[in-house]
């Protein structure tokens, strides 16, 4: 049963998984990064406290984060169809992945930014820096190691979630594993897919941590 067709399918699956995870992480950050920064900035003790705004953002993030991904995937089908035309395949999976990843990313970003030493922010304020400058040059700059570690964690999580999308015909390695391993009892194909998912996760995790360590200047 191992023929060129299966091999090609698995290679396609690898690519689809990477594609989904990469784009979902990317779009997730497009939403989650600004929201996370906004949370850190508007929270009590931030550089521009705004309690009502923070409470609203905090509430939305909590709601979205408490919906299980599998449910969200199904709940979002009409929205996904409206946005990209289809509710299955790689394109159809990226939409719920982004919606699910964005609040998670926002929380990661918020906590990374809150780690920045308040004294350094105060120093920048004493130099006459505007809040916008402080966000760009101090908050994001000083938190960059923690942010990159965050990206690595988010990517691994999204990669795992993308496999779940196989349930609704989402494409990628997870889809193959479910279709062949679960529905057709071809455990060997499933095992290969799972091993590949593990290898992918490990690779990205290691690359992310290496990068984070390399750009960290806090060590003597």
């Amino acid at each position: 049963m191992w023929n060129a067709e299966v091999t090609a399918m698995i290679f396609k699956g690898i690519w689809e998984t990477i594609e989904m995870s990469l784009f979902s992480t990317l779009f997730g950050y497009a939403i989650g990064l600004p929201v996370g920064v906004l949370c850190a900035v508007t929270d009590k003790g931030g550089i521009h406290p705004n309690a009502p705004l923070y409470r609203v953002l905090d509430f939305i993030i909590n709601i979205l984060r408490s919906i299980p991904f599998l449910i969200l995937l199904i709940l979002l089908i009409p929205f996904t169809k409206m946005l990209v035309g289809v509710s299955y395949g790689t394109k159809g999976t990226i939409v719920p992945l982004v919606i699910s990843a964005a609040p998670f990313i926002a929380r990661m970003v918020e906590s990374s930014i809150k780690e920045v030493d308040h004294g350094v922010i105060e120093a920048a304020q004493s130099m006459g820096a505007s809040n916008w400058t402080i966000i760009r040059k101090v908050l994001l700059g000083e938190a960059r190691v923690s942010l990159i570690v965050g990206v690595t964690i988010v990517f691994a999580t999204v990669l795992g979630y993308s496999a779940m999308a196989g349930v609704v015909g989402g494409g990628g390695l997870g889809d193959i594993a479910i279709r062949y391993g679960y529905y057709r009892y071809q455990a060997d194909i499933m095992i290969v897919c799972v091993v590949l998912l593990v290898v992918l996760t490990q690779l990205f995790q290691a690359a992310g941590m290496r990068l984070a360590n390399r750009i960290d200047r806090r060590r003597a």
Binding site: D117, V120, S126, M127, G128, G141, R217
Partner: protein, 405 residues
Amino acid sequence: MATGRAEDSQNRSSRVKSTGAAFFIEESRKAKAAIAAGRFRSGMAHIIEVKDLCKTFETKDGTVEALKDISLDIDEGDVYGIIGMSGAGKSTLVRCLNYLEKPTSGEVCVEGRKLSELSDRELRSMRSSIGMIFQGFNLLMQRSVIDNVCFPLEILGRSRTEALQKARELLATVDLSSKEKSYPAQLSGGQKQRVAIARALASDPKILLCDEATSALDPQTTQSILTLLRRINHEMGITIVIITHQMSVVREICNNVAIIEDGRLVEQGAVLDIFTHPRSRAARRLIVEGKDPDEWNGETEDKPEAGQAESWNGAARQKDILKEARKIRIVFTKNSSFEPVIANLILQFGTPVNILRVDTRDVGGTAVGDMILGLPDDEKLQESMVEYLKNRGLEVEEADGNVER
């Protein structure tokens, strides 16, 4: 006598001696200070004016009054110290000077402009003319030394080449040119503070605020940072405001000082005046007892709490001795230290006096002697002795058993 105190004064004396070796430098410094003092008196505007400043914080446990009715003026070119124990509100006070903290009431004027009337943009541009350094250095850890110094210039929108040139000049000023490409984590505390000073100077400020800038440093490094600050004050004419809890820092470089206790300004004036005539309880503790504010805790009462450490007994015993007879405090300045006054006093009256404490300290580059004498019981004799000392040009004042007033 408490041996700790004796050792302490020995240390101080030896330091003064070494200062004496640099006599000529000190002389020229004093001359400059005198010129500066003359300039203040001729009605030069105050660069910082604080009027009736109050600051309260709302906390879970209610309202905390951090600052109460503080008014003070700082002259251009001055080195002004603000001393008090931690929690006295001095850090809040210095943050009100650049509006990092907005006062609850009262007014802060910098270069004649009321900070409360400035728009956000104007306030930011005002802040860039007020440099600030901190106890924790607060450098950007992910930026190299040179990029840290460039940072304020980036904020001002200067070009990279201009910023780099300026930053290199300043690193040369603080003697750190060789560390240009290093990162803060690779530097010692003193080096980090030098980078912070270079960074604070990058925007050509007129004022430098120092918030406990030497508190995290060892005595030797503190000396070198103070020397650097003094040089900056003299060579660049930058007004320096120093927040500290160490009297030695104030003595070392400040011309004027304000003493803050429990959010109130209890005494202010020229360091030498306060040193020779401390009036407030806080000042007397700083100067007569030689205690830094962080040593004040629990010592406001005469009797130490039961169960205190052995050294307490020593201190208490010393206080008992100090209570015995009438005591006077004499301050020797340069003019009065040529004649062996005490020896002559004893010869003159044929009665011994009890030398209870002697100390020599460096006050703004001037060696000042400080002695507490216990006089004989005879009141007439006491009066004549005081008279004798006053006639020799010495500052004489009563030092009652409990140094509080």
